[in-house]
Amino acid sequence: MGNFTPSRLRRVRLVDRLVAGGITAGGSLVLLAVAFLMVFLFAQTLPLLGGGTARPQSSATAPDAPLLAFEDDFREGVIVLGADGVLHSARLDGAGRTVPLEGARPPLREAVLDAAGRLLAIRDAADEVQVWAVRVKVGWESGERRLEPTARPLLRRVGAGLGRLLAAGGDVDAPVVVAATASGAAVLRGSADAVEIRLGTPAAVAAISRDGRELWLGAARDLSVFRLDGEAFSPALVAAVPLRRPPTAGALLLGDTTMLLGDAGGEVTAWQVVAGAVAGTRMLDAAAVFTGNGPVVALAPSPRDKTFLVRRPGGAELAHLTSRRVGLELPSFPADAVQAGFSPRRDGVFALTAARVVHRWRLEVPHPEATAGTLFLPVRYEGFTEPEFVWQSTGGSGSFEPKLSLVPLVVGTFKGALYALLFSAPCALAAALYLSQFAPSRLRTVAKPAIELMAALPSVVVGFLAALLLAPVLERHVVGVLTAFVVLPLGVIAAAAAWEQAPLAWRRRLRPRGELLLVVGALAATLATVAAVAPTVERVLFAGDFSAWLLASAGVTYDQRNAVVVGFALGFAVIPIIFTLAEDAFSNVPPSLVSASLALGATRWQAARTVAIPAASPGLFAAVMTGLGRAVGETMIVLMATGNTPILSLSPFDGMRTMAASIAVELPEAAFGDTLYRVLILTALMLFAMTFVINTAAVLISTRLRKRFGRLAA
């Protein structure tokens, strides 16, 4: 007592305060880190929500009687073709330059530009149709970027007798121009004579694919697709469909799969060629319809994605095919616009007016393809006949459209986790019950750390073993494994029942260790029986080949890396977690309750069933839920053992891809800030939310259960 001098007391208090401060600071830092993580994830996904913005920018001046305009990659200027047959490059800083189209006789009557913005078709004053390759050359002059439009003649044709120019397409080596005729359309190409396609009525809209091989023609009553094949270049009808209203505008979306037709009723219909009812036939199908107020005046496709611009008398708006999102209005769109289009990088929109002004807007629609609808609802992508859940984030070609449905990933995550729980929860709970209530304590001291040591095995090793050892073995012995699943518990129960019939004196002599040997013996005997019988079972029931039988009889394919493999591997990783928590729950059951039960003449199993299990049930529930949380978040095992096929299937013999695996695989490839990146961050956020919800539910429900089971006597 005498040691507590005032100075010593002060020192103790100081240390007390320091330690308390340190602990508080540490705890706060942890909370802060978690909060920061949440905020970061949230902030990264927020842009997915917004529809985007379109802001007016400074406008440029066009020459007299402008016909059409296009922008350069850097949006530094606008190149306008005037009726004088000259390309006027109007730089926004005022410095202009002009490139005359030599040989085009002014005034030009009309002009069209292809979808890629590289082929310019014109009809001059002498009714000649010309095609020019136009380009904006980028050069450097005294450290400054200089943009220089160039034009090269490609094709000249007599245009007498032809109606309006409808479309230009193909490439610079084989340009194709389509013009309306009195009874259809004419196709002009460099190496052959003009070919007329009879439709009955003059073609109103047309579009040519970028390879120059496919021609879409819309007339008053129908829409037809032609294939332009071979040197003879004879158009072959692929499919046709009657139209309800005559088309007023048309455009082929990037990818050349979807033809948009606008009509006077204000509708824009997206037409796609799909397989017909009879094999080998094709038909046209309306994949989507976009409605709006006022007739459609013109349509312009985006050069980068499935966005398109719809012009109506009252203004213009942006729509996106895949997400079916419509309605981003361009503010103060001029009523007298003669042409409008996207900038080459889809970062802007311009509109050319007869009043010699080129209006410009800055477009910020960073993630048009990601909406709640495309992420969580079935989407009909191009080439699909039905809306489906598809995750396919990257593809081979530039016009590939990422398909970002999160549903297969969510389902895959839960499928993996549930198969894992199906295997691990009974094993872990039974092991915990046995070790805590029945096993001799010597066994407990060995087995408990051994099971817990399973958790120390790196999951990459578990995944490796599962993928390279377990999966092939399972494929060869799938019947045996499935049989074992059914027979093993039955075998043990049968053995126990047989033991009940054994003479009393034998049974009384059994010590706990002998019991264990008996069970292990029964298990081994059952396994040996299953191994011996499995080939026969497979021969008799499954015609000798289970996966072939499965495919033939149920139409189910057998993937080598499938949910059963994942169930085992992930289950292996989850067992120690469930076991440890369940064992703790059983150990926390007051021994006095078990004693009370035993003293009333209960057998050990009765005591476990009526006292230990109910008393431990909140803990057992929490253990299983925590296991579920771990299985949902586990990455490495599912990455290696699932096959990573993001398919939507609940079959145990199919592979899957989980959310965690997707993040691990694709985040390194996603560009910072792009749609895939944000969707993956959203996936991470959902994963976080899911494990959070699962763990919180585990705690809340187990607390409620604990209350319901009352205050346990100590």
Partner: protein, 253 residues
């Protein structure tokens, strides 16, 4: 019948691992009346009590030598079922340990272990057990209430009722009142005396006043050995052994 022997211990030796806790105790417990085991902590009285219904079985490393005969049958014989034994020899523990369920379910627990009684049978048996435990009048209106809503003394009497419900022949008490207040203690003691008239009661007690109040016979243990055993009055007033004298007069313990 008064002289019938319920339990006969023959050279009972108990070991926890290598260490012996009870050394060769030989003792007869008659079928009638209350027998008290007294002695200081660690004298082996609880160990012996737990041998009577083999509650020591679950303890790792525990072994017995000698014999424990219940009505002439060795309870540690290989063919003797400990579950059957515990049904015949009930036990009430030092601290009340009702199950976290209703009063009714607590009392019915033992009945339900062995068969599926009808509702009427159950209610009858529960009422009888609760009356025998002198708890009926206090709980008859709230049989479905949680057992943890009872006071400590009531809980202990509930445990007694629970043990009585399976109609044991013997009831073992392991310091049943050590955690109770004086009034509750008195009620439990009354109950023990009352029950002693129809059952064999063995009670371990620390409380030197309790043994004379409830017990017909008293056995005094010291360091795992039986020092003295006889009618309570004799053990407390004219002990044969000096150690007994020293203990009952409160000189150690």
């Amino acid at each position: 019948m008064n002289d019938a022997v319920r339990f006969r211990l023959e050279a009972l030796t108990c070991r926890y691992g290598p260490a012996a806790a009870v050394h060769g105790v030989t003792l007869d417990i008659p079928a009638q009346g209350v027998t008290a085991f007294i002695g200081p902590s660690g004298c082996g009285k609880s160990t012996i009590l737990r041998c009577l219904n083999r509650m020591n079985d679950v303890i790792e490393g525990f072994s017995v030598g000698g014999r424990v005969l219940l009505d002439g049958e060795d309870v540690y014989a290989p063919g003797f079922d400990p579950v059957e034994l515990r049904r015949r020899v009930g036990m009430v523990f030092q601290r009340s340990n009702p199950f976290p369920s209703s009063i009714l379910d607590n009392v019915a627990y033992g009945l339900r272990l062995h068969r599926r009684p009808t509702r009427a049978e159950l209610e009858l048996a529960v009422e009888e057990a609760l009356r025998a435990a002198a708890l009926w009048d206090e709980v008859k209106d709230r049989l479905d209430a949680s057992a943890s809503s009872l006071s400590g003394g009531q809980q202990q009497r509930l445990c007694i009722a629970r043990a009585l419900a399976v109609r044991p022949e013997v009831l073992l008490f392991d310091e049943p009142a050590s955690a109770l207040d004086p009034i509750s203690t008195a009620r439990v003691e009354e109950l023990v005396t009352e029950l002693g008239k129809r059952l064999t009661i063995v009670i371990v007690t620390h409380n030197l006043q309790q043994a004379p109040r409830v017990a017909d016979r008293t056995a005094f243990f010291l360091l795992g050995k039986l020092v003295e055993y006889g009618p309570t009055v004799q053990v407390f007033t004219t002990p044969a052994e000096e150690q007994t004298e020293a203990y009952v007069s409160g000189r150690f313990g």
